[in-house]
């Protein structure tokens, strides 16, 4: 594929959703507002697939645009595919005619498209400062999406989300400032990731180490890693289902992509392990927090939010282990978790609309009473728990094996124990909600549920089970792992 054609894919992924956002503001026709988000996510997916084809395989090089400001390597292209695929699942499954024709319908669609644009920019920017600006822009775009339903809890969640996420990301900015000061003192001021990794200058180790550690901590806040995770359960539980799916499946992955870049920089500049140990500690702590709180959880949307913290913890442990097997499993985990979580969050939103409560105790015998809602919800939950044939079963097993092989057996053992606790905790709640006979206190037929697409959720769940067995993906992931400095 020619470089020129590859550049078109960069612009398709970046300018596509932005153009759709502008078009929604200009043409506020109901049918246009309805499909705008799906179109935007579809453009990102097409752009991502095109770029993945352009940046993987023998003899390929990263695609550059805008004089090198935008740079797409195999890792960026893979993350774009994750953004597009998970975004398409969440937006398509979340199609809602009532919302599209409501007073705030066009605002909702515009913000979702801008959210997608900001995430794409965070992935394709070569300059870490621009990545920071884009990550902060995701907070701005999603603030009103989190509070979209209105009401006390939604407003409180939106406020806390903006304050905590912005402060957390400010820490990353301070880290980048320190890194920039170190490069300036070395005579080559830059925040370009490619420049710093391909021609690493000799930097002051103390300032650089502090800068990279702060940058990793700041971006980890947006990735939902403990102990900076406190915004996540509130925001994910109060946002509309599709937005929760997008935030959980895509935003966390995009922010973690920035952490991966920082970890690679630490390796290239200092040959150090500071960021690696920070990421490992964050990953294990996230698993611990999730395990401690899912068991006694009483709200099923918060349950899914804590499940996201658990999965990001697993991803972080994989990144810290750092072997090719661990990194491959970690990358696959990001995709499979995103697909399954987007569908499950959308179903959780529909259950909330039907039952009128997000309390686990208020939802009983869902399989008998509302099988159309219960089956996809339960299937999504089973995939997230890692029950075979879920792709997460393979990735989690690979992460544990890679941990033992890399001399981090103690961490792998802890992961195994904590994942089992989460499995029991989440599984128990899912069974409580879906199985059993309806009690006499339960209303047999609650409010009617508007028809909504099930096909995207089914497709996403099937994909999350079979994607690990798609032959060409192995070669693609090998190239992505190579970007992170490890060759298979």
């Amino acid at each position: 594929m020619t470089v020129t054609r590859a550049v078109v894919f960069v612009w398709l992924a970046l300018a596509g959703p932005f153009t759709v956002a502008v078009a929604v503001l200009v043409f506020r026709h109901r049918s246009w507002v309805l499909v705008a988000e799906v179109l935007a996510a579809g453009l990102v997916l097409v752009g991502g697939c095109g770029l993945l084809a352009s940046t993987t395989g023998p003899g390929t090089t990263p695609v550059r645009a805008l004089g090198g400001m935008l740079r797409v390597d195999a890792l960026a292209a893979y993350l774009l595919v994750v953004v597009g695929a998970v975004g398409l699942t969440a937006t398509w499954a979340g199609l809602d005619r009532r919302r599209a024709s409501s007073r705030h319908g066009s605002r909702y669609a515009t913000l979702v498209c801008l959210f997608l644009t900001a995430m794409v920019l965070a992935v394709v920017a070569d300059d870490l400062g621009v990545t920071w600006v884009a990550v902060e822009a995701t907070t701005i775009a999603t603030a009103f999406l989190v509070g979209h339903h209105g009401g006390r809890r939604a407003v409180e969640a939106a406020w806390k989300y903006v304050v905590l996420a912005s402060v957390g990301v400010s820490i990353a900015l301070l880290g980048l400032v320190l890194l920039y000061a170190a490069t300036r003192a070395a005579g080559s001021p830059t925040l370009s990731w490619s420049q710093l990794t391909t021609h690493p200058p000799h930097l002051d180790p103390a300032v650089t180490r502090a800068g990279l550690a702060l940058a990793a901590l700041g971006f980890a806040t947006k990735a939902g890693l403990a102990p900076m995770h406190s915004w996540l359960p509130d925001a994910h539980s109060q946002a509309p289902g599709p937005v929760s799916g997008l935030m959980s499946g895509v935003l966390l992955a995009v922010a973690f992509g920035a952490v991966l870049r920082i970890e690679r920089l630490d390796d290239a500049l200092l040959g150090g392990t500071t960021v690696r140990w920070l990421v490992l500690a964050g990953g294990l702590l996230s698993l611990l927090v999730s395990a401690a709180l899912v068991v006694t959880q009483k709200d099923y949307k918060r349950l899914l939010a804590y499940s996201s913290i658990e999965h990001m913890g697993l991803v972080a442990v994989g990144a810290a282990v750092g072997s090719p097997l661990a990194l491959t499993a970690m990358l696959l985990h990001l995709l499979v978790h995103g697909l399954a979580k987007a569908g499950t969050f959308v179903m959780a939103g529909r259950i909330l609309a039907a039952e009128g409560s997000s309390a686990i105790a208020d939802v009983r015998a869902l399989l008998r009473r509302r099988p159309a809602l219960a089956v996809p919800f339960l299937a999504g939950g089973a995939v997230l728990l890692g029950l075979p044939p879920s792709g997460l079963f393979l990735t989690e097993a690979a992460l544990v094996v890679a941990g033992f092989r890399s001399g981090l057996g103690w961490a792998a053992g802890a992961v195994l124990a904590l994942v089992l606790v989460v499995f029991v905790g989440v599984g128990r709640h899912l069974v409580t909600m879906t199985l059993g006979a309806p009690s006499t206190a339960t209303t047999p037929d609650g409010p009617s549920v508007a028809p909504a697409p099930v096909a995207p959720i089914a497709l996403a769940l099937v994909a999350s089970c079979v994607v690990a067995f798609v032959g060409p993906l192995a070669g693609v992931l090998t190239d992505v792992v190579a970007v992170l400095g490890r060759s298979a």
Binding site: A137, V177, Y180, P233
Partner: protein, 230 residues
């Protein structure tokens, strides 16, 4: 298009002017802590923004770079005019008369600030060592400003107090960036400023919604989403 970088603050910059401006920015944060959340934060925030843009102006004048002088004027408009006004309006929306000083004495707060300033100077030592000239000696003030911003944010239990803390924290990062590296690349600087403006605007709108939803109370005291209540 390469990311344009500004020159670092010249070692020829007047050391007294650099120290005075950095010190004024830090002093404004101390005043904010001393006066507590009940008083209007506008004047100290204006002073803080003016000192920060004064540092940018100084760098522009020393280097005779008209682009940096224009950047200083824009920084003044944003940080000394627009943002302090927005933050102050946020306070009015939730009712400034509400007693919120939950047993915190100004003396104790100032003692804490003194500790943070010392900490700022300690953690900035490696950074000061790699930056030549007066900027290297003053960079600790930026770090101390940032830490005091954190203190204001963590202890702030009202909309306005949290906004003041957030703005002070950001000003601390900007001061550190300016003194340690002559600012960040221009495109990033514009993006960061735009993000800051939008975040403060979003928080202002959310503050009004909080006031409507909770009948005049503030987010700091709102605890509906605590884990124990789930």
């Amino acid at each position: 298009m390469a990311l344009e970088t500004r020159p670092p603050m010249s070692p020829e910059a007047d050391p007294q002017a650099v120290a005075l401006l950095a010190g004024l920015a830090l002093l404004s944060a101390v005043v904010l802590v001393w006066r507590g959340p009940g008083a209007s934060p506008r004047a100290p925030l204006v002073l803080q923004g003016a000192a920060l843009s004064g540092l940018v102006l100084l760098a522009g004048l020393v280097d005779r770079d008209p682009r940096v002088v224009i950047a200083a004027l824009l920084a003044f408009v944003l940080k000394a005019v627009v943002l302090p006004a927005l933050v102050d309006r946020g306070g009015d929306a939730v009712g400034p008369g509400r007693p919120v000083d939950r047993g915190r004495s100004p003396a104790r707060s100032l003692l804490l600030v003194a500790g943070l300033v010392v900490l700022g100077y300690v953690v900035a030592r490696p950074l000061g060592a790699i930056v030549p000239g007066p900027a290297g000696r003053a960079v600790a003030a930026g770090m101390a400003l940032l830490l005091v911003g954190f203190l204001l944010l963590v202890t702030g239990d009202r909309v306005r107090a949290q906004l003041v803390g957030f703005l002070t924290l950001d000003n601390g990062i900007s001061t550190t960036a300016l003194l340690a590296a002559g600012g960040v690349p221009l495109v990033v600087e514009i993006g960061v400023s735009l993000d800051l403006l939008l975040v403060v605007l979003v928080l202002r709108v959310l503050a009004e919604r909080v006031t409507l939803a909770f009948g005049g109370s503030d987010p700091g005291s709102v605890r509906e989403l605590r884990e124990v209540r789930d």
